[in-house]
């Protein structure tokens, strides 16, 4: 138990260090970026006398030595002060808080869908590796991986929403809609299905393949032969003995790919006008809103770090032999 607590503590310290590194990298990017607050304000007011610029820089602490500025920046970010958006004129964190739920919902649904179906397909085909279904899944995973997600998103939107009218065209809710809690929930789900499915396809391709490969490997191991030899029935061998070990690589990749999921969300959210962080990122890039962009980079990196920590905990649950913070 003590070892477990110490392991988690070690991982937490490591994650915190990583977060600090992300913030420092952000600070460096700000220094590289052309222009500063003073120039932006001068641009807004249409006047930029050297005295004015100097006054603003003194006010924002930009005349301080660079290391002092760095510590000031670190201190601000660690107090959840990410500055103010140039374009919206509101605190960056506030804007992120408004949109973060939509992105977590989209990415979470896509991940859950890809994991469940992917693992099921993988397990199913690993039991009969030479069957037609098995080859079909291999081909599907190649196809799913090669599809550009923004293109599939547009195609689905046009075919399933515009032509067939099965799903609403973009957005997260129908503002005209009033139908109590369950009505609204249903409305949300209707809007969620297509974007989540689009985003999930790529990961479905990964996971089905990975699950199949790792299942094939596990099914060949000695303890599975032992289980079969002592007469455990086949279903129990596959789902209770083998699956647990076969899941480890799938979980590893899922944890590592959380950042990639975020990248995919930028494209999918843009096409489906899903009001999440990805769309916010795209809009702030178009408006050259540097504080907003960097705030998003920090928050999304923090989310990936948390996701990685959670992955470590899931490991523990799948395989108690793995100790958090140490090697196997």
């Amino acid at each position: 138990m003590l070892a477990l607590v110490r392991g988690i503590g070690f991982r937490l310290i490591q994650a915190f260090g990583l977060l600090i590194a992300v913030i420092v990298l952000n600070f460096i990017l700000i220094q590289i970026a052309p222009g500063d607050v003073a120039l932006t304000l001068a641009g807004e007011q249409g006047s930029g006398s050297p005295e004015f610029l100097a006054a603003v820089r003194a006010q924002y602490g930009l005349d301080q030595p660079i290391l002092i500025q760095l510590f000031q920046y670190l201190w601000n970010v660690l107090q959840f002060d990410l500055g103010e958006s140039f374009f919206w004129g509101r605190p960056v964190l506030e804007l992120i808080q408004e949109k973060i739920f939509a992105t977590i919902l989209l990415a979470g649904t896509a991940l859950a869908f890809a994991m469940t179906i992917g693992v099921l397909l993988g397990v199913f085909t690993a039991r009969r590796p030479e069957s037609m279904t098995s080859h079909g899944v291999t081909i599907l995973s190649l196809v799913g991986y090669a599809l550009p997600v923004f293109w599939t998103a547009i195609m689905f939107l046009v075919v399933f929403s515009a032509k067939l009218g099965w799903f609403p065209i973009g957005g997260i809710e129908d503002v005209r809609y009033e139908g109590g809690f369950f009505g609204e929930l249903l409305d949300l789900i209707e809007h969620l299905v297509l974007p989540a499915f689009t985003l999930g396809i790529i990961y479905l391709a990964y996971y089905s393949r990975l699950a199949r490969a790792s299942m094939l490997e596990v099914l060949e191991s000695d303890y599975i032969r032992t289980a079969r030899a002592k007469g455990v029935d086949e279903r129990s061998v596959v789902y209770r003995h083998a699956l647990r070990n076969a899941l480890i690589p799938v979980v590893t990749i899922a944890g590592l790919q959380f950042g990639a999921l975020f990248s995919g969300a930028v494209l999918v959210e843009t096409v489906f006008s899903w009001p999440g962080l990805g769309r916010l990122a795209f809009e702030s890039i178009l408006r050259r809103d540097t504080p907003m962009m960097l705030g998003l980079l920090i928050v999304s990196a923090a989310m990936v770090i948390v996701a990685n920590l959670l992955t470590d905990l899931v490991y523990q649950w799948i395989d108690p032999r793995i100790r958090v913070g140490g090697k196997r």
Partner: protein, 291 residues
């Protein structure tokens, strides 16, 4: 000389067997043929077809097969879609290849040094790799692009800078494994220097997984470039598959061909590269066939 000779012979032997294995794999050969055709199209296509992808050649929205219009139709500005697919392929493939090359080079350097030297260098480089791994690649690339300004060069640079961690981890793992082998110890015993051991003894033996990884990286970089130019963050002066889709997405209902064909081009390119990658994987690792 002996140690490198032995190592090289081993590589060549496995190389010859691998080529035979690869050629026996129908999907891989299919992928190779498809990719060769696409490459041929992007290299010689513009000269053969001879239509400027930016020129207005017919009335806007003329569909494919229209008697006055070109084969694959024209877009909302009357530009030839086939010329765009041919010319856009050049941008997409070139940027993808350069980006993948950069990504593999950085990954090889960081991963190789970390795996070979171990200890502090390993720890430092792995922290650096982790840092780049927690930053969502597309978001990070978008930030880099706003700092560097959009051009084909900066797009390739941005993609290379955000996508190397996977290559670094793989290289590190390979170097860690191989540096404990007998022949590396033999090389060290006869006084070969670090650089020589890394490049001439370890690297050739680490090649098979790295070649497979390169194929995958090229595919990822192409998808990446397409995504960036789809968002309009690439070089807007040159046509690319992604930018064709981005600019025409609003007209899909009126003119499906303007978005469909560039998308199919990206899909077939990445598909053919993955098939080649799979074929290489099976060829180098016959035990893992079909996984």
């Amino acid at each position: 000389m002996t140690e490198t000779g032995v190592a090289l012979e081993a590589v060549e032997a496995s190389g010859r067997g691998a080529v035979a294995m690869f050629l026996r794999n129908k999907a891989a050969v299919f992928g190779l043929i498809m990719f060769t055709l696409i490459l041929f199209m992007t290299i010689f296509g513009p000269a053969i077809y001879g239509v400027d992808p930016d020129a207005m050649v017919a009335r806007p929205f003329a569909p494919p097969g229209d008697e006055f219009g070109p084969r694959l139709g024209v877009d909302y500005l009357g530009r030839d879609v086939l010329a765009g697919v041919i010319g856009g392929g050049r941008t997409t493939l070139l940027v993808g290849a350069v980006a993948a090359g950069m990504s593999m080079t950085i990954g090889l350097l960081i991963g190789g040094l970390a795996g070979y030297y171990g200890r502090r260098i390993d720890a430092a480089f792995m922290r650096l790799t982790e840092l780049f791994q927690v930053l969502p690649a597309l978001l990070f690339a978008m930030v880099l692009l706003t700092l560097m300004g959009p051009s084909s060069k900066t797009v390739a640079l941005a993609i290379g800078l955000v996508s190397w961690p996977a290559a670094a981890r793989l290289t590190r793992a390979e170097f860690l494994r191989i540096r404990e082998q007998e022949y590396v110890k033999a090389a060290r015993a006869i006084g070969a220097g670090d650089l020589r051991i890394m490049i001439r003894t370890i690297l050739p033996n680490a090649m098979p997984p790295l070649i497979v990884a390169t194929a995958l990286t090229v595919g990822i970089a192409i998808l990446f470039e397409a995504g960036i130019s789809f968002l309009g963050l690439g070089d807007n002066r040159v046509v690319s598959w992604g930018s064709m889709i981005g600019k025409n997405q609003g007209y899909l209902l009126e003119a499906w061909w303007t978005v469909t064909f560039p998308g199919v081009a990206i899909f077939l390119t990445v598909l053919s590269i993955s098939m080649i990658g799979d074929g290489l994987q099976d060829a180098f690792n016959p035990k893992l066939r079909g996984r």
